[in-house]
């Protein structure tokens, strides 16, 4: 019988806990036998909470699922309900929606790059220690966040949990004059974003490759953010309305979380920056494309540790796109398109910073929500993260528990699991047989 030691790392104290999660790795006779990851609570509460509500309410309610990506929830919800009501957003309202979403990408990516992921590569326990040593670097991240907040405040009504978004558009749209100072701020910020790409491109990346099927939106001619058709690296192509025929969520043993898989496929799939980039790098705007090239990224990227570089490139992309949208902006005739209730189902999908976010609503003739379905990116990525960990741990069994645990967490952070939706790693258990 082999010796078995259990190691449990846990933290208690002054804390807000928005969920409960755990990573469990079991090693026996030098082989990784089991990897379990439970980092995500599916939004079933919200799906039930939405039933019986008016069709105008899901954008605001679902935006509270995640503090980091409320715009993604609002956008997918709006698009699903607009599809059910039979309307679509004309320009320039569609452009304003994309502009707001750019703000969320910049905000979320800057948070992840500077506060969560970079400290891993630089050997710091966290952003606080990084800031003590390299204040200028962290200030740059804060400046990116400020620019993002300016977009969110102008278009969303406030930087946290935007309140200006409604089915059919906005409650209020900006004047062209209001966008002028925002453009000035973004032009300065573009240089900071380019500096960020150069900075993270210089990190040392573990030699690691994932072969997951990749799933992302695509829209010929531009990088996918707020809308598009779903495509995969395995040749799939489908619309939002066909999502549930292709993406199957199922319960797995030992976990309350659902794992998603693609119908008819045995392996896991991934969504998020690497998938978006690999399937859409040719549609990057000029400065982002040049930054990606200079950073050494090819047309595809399959090393999850390099997701930090892709996020930095996408930050440049979002700023460029925001500037382009502002420069071409002409105020619409009205802030929204009227959308009367209509019986039927609608599907919406958008690219949240961490991947594809799907919503479906069924409405009755009075516009009351009869059922709701939400499939967030983090739940889709759980199986891919587990698969990565299995291979990653197997190659690093010579490391001591502390080091191995740290590297596993870094591997999980590659996927930027949603902070508010995904649970914190309060418990981590590593069994060595």
């Amino acid at each position: 019988m082999t010796h078995r030691s259990d190691r449990t790392l846990s933290a208690t104290g002054l804390a807000r806990v928005e969920g409960e999660g755990a990573m469990y790795v079991r090693v026996s006779s030098g082989l990784v036998e089991e990897v379990r990851l439970d980092i995500y609570e599916p939004p079933r509460f919200f799906e039930a909470f939405l039933v019986g509500r008016a069709y105008t309410e899901p954008p605001d309610i679902t935006s509270r699922i995640c503090g980091i990506c409320p715009v993604a929830y609002q956008t997918s919800a709006c698009q699903a309900i607009e599809a059910a009501c039979g309307i679509s957003l004309p320009e320039p309202l569609a452009g304003l929606r994309r502009l707001l979403y750019c703000g969320e990408w910049i905000s979320s990516h800057a948070l992840h790059i500077y506060m969560l992921h970079a400290p891993d590569f630089l050997g710091y326990p966290g952003a606080v220690e990084l800031a003590r040593d390299q204040r200028d670097i962290v200030e740059r991240g804060m400046s990116l966040r400020r620019a993002a907040n300016s977009i969110m405040a102008l278009l969303g009504g406030r930087p946290v949990h935007p309140v200006n978004i409604r089915v059919g558009g906005f409650y209020r749209v900006p004047t062209a004059g209001e966008l002028v100072p925002l453009a000035e701020q973004l032009r300065v910020t573009l240089d900071l974003a380019l500096d960020t790409v150069r900075w993270v491109a210089g990190f040392d990346f573990p030699d690691f490759r994932c072969d997951h099927e990749m799933l992302a939106l695509t829209e010929p001619g531009r990088y996918p953010i707020e809308r598009g058709t779903l495509v995969s690296s395995g040749g799939l192509e489908f619309t939002a309305a066909e999502f549930e025929r292709h993406v199957i969520e199922e319960q797995v043993p030992h976990s309350t979380a659902l794992h998603a898989r693609l119908a008819g496929r045995s392996g896991s799939y991934m969504t998020g920056p690497l998938a978006r980039y690999t399937l859409n790098s040719r549609w990057l705007p000029p400065a982002a494309a040049a930054a990606a090239r200079d950073a050494g990224l090819g047309a595809a990227c399959r090393n999850p540790f390099q997701s930090i570089v892709v996020r930095a490139v996408e930050t440049v992309c979002a700023i460029e796109e925001a500037l382009r949208l502002i420069e071409s902006y002409e105020p619409p005739a009205g802030p929204f398109v009227a959308a009367g209730p209509r019986e039927g189902a609608g599907h919406g999908v958008s690219e949240a910073p961490r991947g594809v976010l799907y919503h479906r609503y069924e409405l009755d003739a009075d516009g009351i929500v009869r059922s709701a379905r939400i499939v967030p990116p983090t739940s889709q990525n759980q199986a891919a993260i587990q698969d990565d960990l299995r291979g990653f741990v197997q190659d690093r069994l010579d490391l001591d528990d502390e080091r191995l645990t740290h590297e596993c967490e870094q591997a999980i952070r590659n996927y930027d699991p949603c902070i508010s939706c995904a649970a914190h790693f309060l418990n981590l258990k590593l069994d060595r047989g």
């Binding site: 804390a15 699922i65 966290g126 914190h424």
Partner: protein, 149 residues
């Protein structure tokens, strides 16, 4: 002119975690117009933006304690130089401890920072407080108003 800000941290769809936003909501009718009131998810960069340059920042948050006494209130006052170090509970997420640590490193602490922490019982998805936390709302609002003077 000195600026006062109250930041209610939490998520109203996480049961007791919603007490921060609830206190902010109640203060809208009771605090003077010059007091800035914000609900926030606790993300450090946002916290720092909210309190930087303030003469007084009051943060209201729900906490887990061990041993727990749901509804119990803690009032903790920090100043710029205070060495109190709240370690983040999580290896991934960011906490109030990170916000304070980051603000100190970037020299963006308010002149005074008061934390009102409420011991909570239930952070699961849902709406409404557990009875002990519900009973703590009114005394908490009163305590924050005392701090605002």
């Amino acid at each position: 002119m000195s600026r006062q800000v109250v930041i209610g941290v939490g998520n109203e769809f996480r049961r007791d975690d919603g007490i921060g936003p609830e206190v902010v909501s109640r203060l809208r009718a009771q605090a003077g117009g010059q007091v800035q009131l914000l609900a926030c998810d606790g993300e450090p960069a946002r916290m720092i933006e909210a309190w930087a340059g303030a003469s007084l920042a009051v943060v209201v948050d729900a906490v887990l304690a061990s041993p727990a006494a749901p509804g119990r209130l803690h009032r903790i006052e920090l100043d710029r130089a205070d060495g109190w170090d709240i370690r983040p509970v999580s290896s991934h997420g960011l906490s109030l401890g990170d916000a304070i640590g980051l603000a100190r490193a970037l020299d963006r602490m308010p002149e005074r920072l008061i934390l009102h922490a409420v011991e909570a019982a239930d952070f699961r998805l849902g709406v409404g407080f557990t009875p002990a936390v519900a009973a703590a709302v009114a005394p908490l609002v009163a305590a924050v108003l005392r701090d605002l003077g």
